[in-house]
């Protein structure tokens, strides 16, 4: 019994170490002064410094990258939810022929390797004159975030008791009102989860951002960080600092919405 427990604890610790070691190393690296970067020991910096964080912003428009990322991710998230929620509801709850086939289709689209379509997408974006704009990234990101959103939300909508929607209809709601006033709030945890996933996807997206942008006008944080290395030097400290800063909003978002995601809002709607 205790052996088994010990085994479990060891396994969990190992898994935790495996997951946490890279970010921990990033953190340590980002706090080391330039001179200590290449040496080990010391493992921990003797005099932790925020110099690397400061220098991230020096000589390059890092703030601009963050703004670009935030705008692209927010727009992608908004579009994915605005179109994904009604679509998912229709697929999950309205009498629709071939909804299973459609859902499968969306999954296929979401699973498509981006690299396979990046060239035709680039040509298309250039043709409509959106190269090096936020909209190029929003359009490309949404094509991947939207199917994912629809897929996630349709499972959430399917968990809403049918009687709830029927009650709304009898109460006088149209199909649209029943969706807005009853289904949507009841699926709020799902909406939050899907929104975060869409946001994180767009925030982290690298390939499209690299190909479709060419200037700080639209370059996002991942592309910006990729541009850090100079000809002769690899600024590990700055890269670590920038990566951590880039992860912060995502982490914050998840922490804030975690309760909302986990909390079963439908509790008490119907007798189990």
């Amino acid at each position: 019994m205790t052996f088994r427990r010990l085994g479990w604890t060891a396994a969990l610790l190992a898994a935790l170490g495996f997951l946490l070691a890279p970010p921990a190393w990033q953190l340590i690296t980002s706090l080391k002064p330039q001179e200590e970067l290449g040496s080990l020991p010391p493992l921990l910096p003797e005099q932790p410094t925020l110099a690397q964080y400061r220098s991230v912003f020096e000589g390059r428009p890092f703030g601009r990258y963050v703004v670009n990322s935030a705008i692209v991710a927010t727009l992608t998230m908004t579009l994915a939810i605005a179109f994904g929620a009604p679509a998912a509801y229709a697929l999950a709850r309205l009498p629709l022929r071939g909804s299973g086939f459609l859902l499968f289709g969306f999954l296929v689209v979401a699973m498509f390797p981006p690299i396979a379509i990046v060239s035709p997408l680039y040509l298309g974006i250039r043709a409509v004159g959106l190269r090096d704009t936020w909209w190029a990234l929003v359009a490309a990101d949404t094509t991947f975030a939207l199917p994912l959103t629809i897929w996630i939300l349709s499972t959430f909508f399917r968990e809403i008791p049918r009687d709830l929607i029927r009650a709304a209809r009898v109460d006088g709601a149209t199909v649209g009102q029943a969706f807005f006033f009853v289904a949507l709030p009841a699926a709020a945890p799902g909406i939050a989860a899907a929104a975060i996933l869409a946001f994180v996807f767009a925030w982290n997206e690298f390939l499209f951002a690299l190909i479709f942008t060419s200037s700080p006008a639209a370059q996002t944080v991942p592309v910006g960080i990729a541009l850090f290395p100079g000809l002769n030097e690899m600024p590990w400290g700055e890269i670590a600092a920038a990566s951590l800063m880039a992860s912060a909003p995502v982490l914050l978002l998840i922490l804030v919405f975690q309760r909302r995601i986990v909390q079963g809002l439908t509790a008490g709607a119907v007798k189990e």
Partner: protein
Amino acid sequence: MARVSLAGVEKRYRKSLAVRRLDLEVRDREFLTLLGPSGCGKSTVLNIVAGLETPTTGRVFIGDRDVTELPPQDRDVSMVFQSYALYPHKSVFENIAFSLKLRRVATEEIDRRVRDVAARLGVEALLARRPGELSGGQRQRVALGRALVRKPTVFLLDEPLSNLDAQLRTDTRAEIKRLHAEFATTTLYVTHDQVEAMTLSDRIAVMKDGELQQVGTPEEIYRAPANRFVAGFVGNPGMNFVAGRVEEGSVHLPGMRLRLPEIPFSGDVLVGIRPEDIELAVDGPKDGAFGEVYAVELLGADALVVLTWAGTRVTARGPSSFRAAPGERIGIRFSRERVLLFNPTTGGRVS
């Protein structure tokens, strides 16, 4: 005039027939119950009246208006669901107020009406709570309030008591009856519970396998069931059925001959008799029928006496003072005017 009529309504799903050619009228202000076992199509009928399902053929009228093609929100009906279906993210107040809000009723008016209904149902203290914080009985009341606040033309209830425990069910049953007397709204009530049907209804419509069996007052349903199914479904314990034979105007049963007036036929029949219509005679006449005591179940007010008689099990209702040991022979006599005869093959009542 809030009459509800169904004319030739039929509902077919891909493979099965849920409702077969139904003609039914709920009169103005009437309380009509659709009674039947699960899967008999009674809920489908309710959904068709609500507009949540469309009939395959046939028309639905509310008053003089043909509502067959109307969506639920335009029918001015309200419904209480078996699952209550309260909006989980809305407070009790918002749950009750929702239908009024959708109709753009003025805020003060909404406030007044919600509080009025809540007071009548004794939930005014709960208005700020969410459904998740309520007990089953409280949720039931809120669901009733949500349906009543609008003063609908037709009130639909789908097994509203089946999720409550026994005591609460009896209380709420009485409350529904009182509410109906008070609001006088045309009501269509669906249940599989014959006690609810008997106690609440002005009239009962019994359904089986999607087919209407009989429509009548509770007394008619109980005393003059149209067929064997209705006779057996209503009443607890159920009606006894014994195979017999009609010859020369008399019904012949094992050890018993009943002379009934006006039996225009002869042949095999199924004799139906309710437990309370069987007389027990411990020292009965020695020429009558005898049953052997199988078990005596004391209920309090009276006792159920289960007898084996000519190979069939028969239940009689006796006084609570009745005592008999298993195996004892008891004389039985039927109240002649209460005996019902059924066709043994079709199940239809023949007298």
